[in-house]
Subunit: 351 residues, 4 copies
């Protein structure tokens, strides 16, 4: 920690993913999800959703190995970029100042390797492009409105939470057990349930990036479209209703296995006394309000993250209990009603 004040972060703003087959990724992000192409280069795509007016909220870059190259937050002014630099220099982590255009469409920025091991950027200036909110002639049946949040895997959730609290984020919900082990925490700057979720596990890895729609029908259409495309195996989990956040969700895996969530129906958190919701890790409705099982891959798999040189980060193991281990089993480690034995519905497909 440091006494230098943190930058004033507005919200999560964009991610850069390395993909191994840009054409395949284009099908997924443009043809299926309907993201708008702001700019296209031989080895990169700059994409945004219909209500976004900054240059992009997602960059896809062709590379040898699938990875997450950068998670970017927007700060409130150019001066806050300087404060970000000072803050991270005081923290003693690696810091790089990059000029405008280091990422196309983005102004001068500070890139860091954060204490959790993630490559993170802070920027203010960005190129404005047309906001397509009312261009309904372009909206498909699964139209996406905006980037909503990042979710990252990190071994020590309370430590990560303290780091993000230092950066001015607030907890909205978490998953704990009676012994005080924290399995995951949701934190926000903009007044939604989260800009960042911290998921306990071997890290640093990127668990997923989430985009928001207005209604559930748009999420359901993406499933139908994948069925029509004979690609339903890109649906990893859902659709369903989260316990945490109350959001209606769908998890997809892009052609490189990067996990993308489509998300709607969370709630306003902008008051300073917004109640924190704590879920018992054994509550079967915490991750799916309808009690549908979380598939093991959702717990086990996540994207490699790169350092500022583009080298994959080594993983640090989680030493505390893992959510999958304490909740999934034929003998039922979770409950629907505390104190009752589980009923054996919804056991999945490999008895």
């Amino acid at each position: 920690m440091t006494s230098v004040p943190p930058p004033d972060v507005i919200r999560c703003a964009y991610a850069e993913l390395v993909v191994t087959d840009l054409a395949a990724a284009r099908w997924f992000y443009v043809d299926l999800l309907g993201l708008v192409v702001t700019a296209e280069e031989p080895d990169a795509l700059y994409l945004r959703a219909f209500e976004e007016y900054l240059h992009h909220s997602l960059v896809l870059r062709q590379g040898e190995t699938a990875a997450c190259a950068r998670l970017a937050y927007r700060v409130r002014s150019a001066a806050e970029v300087d404060r970000a630099e000072a803050y991270y220099r005081a923290l003693g982590v690696r810091v790089e100042r990059v000029p405008a255009g280091a990422t196309r469409g983005i102004g001068e920025a500070v890139r860091i390797e954060d204490p959790l091991g993630f490559p993170v950027e802070f920027f203010f200036d960005a190129e404005h492009v047309e906001r397509l909110t009312q261009r309904y002639d372009l909206h498909g049946a699964g139209a996406i409105s905006r980037l909503d949040h990042f979710n990252v895997v990190t071994p020590d959730v309370p430590a990560a939470q303290r780091y993000y609290e230092g950066l001015g984020f607030t907890v909205s919900e978490d998953i704990e057990d009676a012994a005080g082990t924290v399995y995951a925490t949701w934190m926000y700057r903009k007044p939604t349930v989260h800009d960042i979720a911290l998921t306990g596990g071997d890290g640093p890895r990127m668990h997923h990036i989430a985009f928001a729609t207005h209604e559930r029908s748009q999420i359901l259409h993406l499933c139908d479209h994948l069925g029509a495309a004979r690609r339903p195996d890109m649906i990893e989990r859902g659709p369903g209703r989260h316990g945490v956040s109350n959001a209606f969700y769908l998890y997809l895996r892009d052609p490189d296995g990067h996990r993308i969530e489509i998300y709607t129906h969370d709630y306003y958190t902008g008051d300073p006394d917004n109640p924190v919701v704590r879920w018992d890790v054994h509550d079967n409705q915490r991750r799916d309000w309808w009690g549908n099982p979380v598939v093991p891959s959702w717990y086990a798999e996540a994207s490699t993250v790169l350092d500022l040189d583009g080298t994959p980060r080594a993983l640090q193991e989680r030493t505390e209990a893992r959510e999958a281990d304490v909740t999934i089993g034929a003998d039922g480690f979770s409950y629907t009603r505390a104190g009752e034995a589980p009923r054996e519905f919804k056991l999945g497909n490999q008895v």
Copy 2:
């Protein structure tokens, strides 16, 4: 078969279920599903959906053992009830004529034990009650419109299909394999995908009864409501989109384990050349267009049916291959794209 002409069946019309705890059943069917109580007796409930004007589409009767006591079809006129009697007498099955009121609200009827072993009734006259289509003051967020279909388990699907063709039903879709084994068939009188589905398995058993809503949001609300009631384990499977029928579906289990489907978005089948859709049993999208796994209980469990004396019917084993056996396995007996190895997503919760 017989040369006596069959009765002119309009549609599936009502089912009578024996439940062991009428109060618990009332919670499920009235408080959760929102079915309308037409009449209530100490040991029976007569229920209908909002767009139905006949006395009931579901009877719940208190009894010792959960079972399906009767599946009833409506015929086009009182004379057709007589034709039903003649038809089944010619078929040589057990036939009983019952007077008006034998089932409250239902006129004179013929009850039979059909060649597949099911207790079936044919009636025309029924008491009319208020159709509540536009009583939106009474419609909850999960409002149900009408009964849609029955689904029964029977060992020999082609034989059952021939029996129902004799009764004037038409096939809309089926599930087969390359060797010609038929695993399930959907058949209709009213111009929807089905009034009856024939599911291969040990039978006679009742697999489920389905009710229709107008939109998917009504089905999703039922899931949310069950979550709020801490009863999500009543959700057995779904929500999802069927391959067969294209319907958006949800399978619930009532407190006695009777399976109830909520169903919407199927299609018009009323032209005589309506194309039959044949699905490969190994096609992973046949039962869920999104490729989500069918839970084993959905294949394995079904309700006991009674004979006309109220005695449970003995089961006859299916001798042909069973769908669950040929499609579910950790080594993947189904495909998403024919010829490709399966990817291992969505494996369920008991690795």
Copy 3:
């Protein structure tokens, strides 16, 4: 009337419209409504909706003057085409037998000038094309499922109703007044609220053709799309909820002024004792359940119809009271609650 039995009509099946600018019409029907082009000729488009497998449900043909050239019903078999011919010859109206292909994609047919003055065709054979029910990759946000009904203007509604009853149609709903004047009647063969609606007015004219969607969101998207296209003036009336039929509706006017309804949420009518719903013409909720005013153009305007030679039909005036005259006025001829003075909301834009 005649003692010759009528043909067994299945349902309304297709319409042929003359349009004066095929490119403009293509924008409306294909780019906006998303109808599928089965075939295209220099001066004609053959269109269908996503769940239709016959060659087309709408033909657009370039011509000098906008008109409705034909309303076609499908009959149950080729033999029924012969029965149609015999029936109309006995009725003494003009009858023409046309060979297969007289309309592209349609088999041998009988064309008549019906007693109400409309050009009507009866056919059975038609070319089958791919049913695109599950081609969600092609479905836009406003996807249309199928043709639902025709609505025609005719001076004497009871006479027209008798004619259609002779043809085997059944009344589902009507609008009357206390003196017995009938203003409009809805009649069906397939078990929905209607295949044909008879609207009182100077006729013969075609009031509208209606297509069905699964959900309301698809109808709302069409409005949003028209807004984005700066063509909201193509929205004539709605969206809203009908009193009659309970359907959620939207009325559009194509570039030639042909009125197209998009329609969903009506109800099953297939039982022989389906209750007829009679609406008081002064009931303000009969045409819009939410009490929103019917715009005058909706009452006043309708498409010219052609005779079998392609000549516009002269109009016969309605002699009975007209719905617009008895219901619309600053002094309130309609009521929301019988016996109460109207409140002056929703008066429209030209006080």
Copy 4:
């Protein structure tokens, strides 16, 4: 203006309305809208929406004359209440400090008569009650999530905008003409399109209070419910899609004529460079994206507001052009496509 810093306002928080028949109001707000009763007194109701955890967002108080008694904003801390007091004392308007409980459930507060003539309260402390986000067992088909915004009528919109900018609010959208007349402005603190809209007209009056839902289906249900209750004349305008804000909307009038909007689908405005959208007053899509007419009552009528003594405020006339005068007329003062003559659809019901 003043050099004293303004309080840090979080968002619009609650309104207090005087109603003349509390039982009638209860039907509207509780039975129809489904708002939750936090507390009930013989002459007052304290209501909240399902996702709100403060004591109430709406107070209904029985009185002689219908009026708006108070609009309340929440500030970020107790200290900000003091800053509010200092700020308004410096502005020279009437200021009253009230103790906790002056309004049930609300802590110590500052009440002022703002420079525009409105009775406004600033508070921080409030009683927390159960947030019912996931109590889907209680959610009806028209479930409301939270209060969204206030809309007030004031003669001089630019002056009012300057006042609210002084209080820290930001403009998201406005309606202007080429001569620079401003007809209405939307301003926010929380990152939605608005917490307050300033509508040009004789003021001070309260135009409406708006509540948010998650989806459009919830708004449509309220219309259906009003139809079933034979109260569709409570629907003043809509449902429709706004041009301004992009929100899907419905305007109702409560039994006293207070206008309530139900609102969904607006967009995120939380970045400091959020683009301001300026609409031409003659653009026919500015207030309804679908071009449906704004009813005259919507422009003409609004609720009386009280001063801190409970006395109705006298009105000051708007001296600039009025939106209704420059946009509504049989000869069409608005356009759909600039430069084209209007087409005469959608003219309403009193030709």
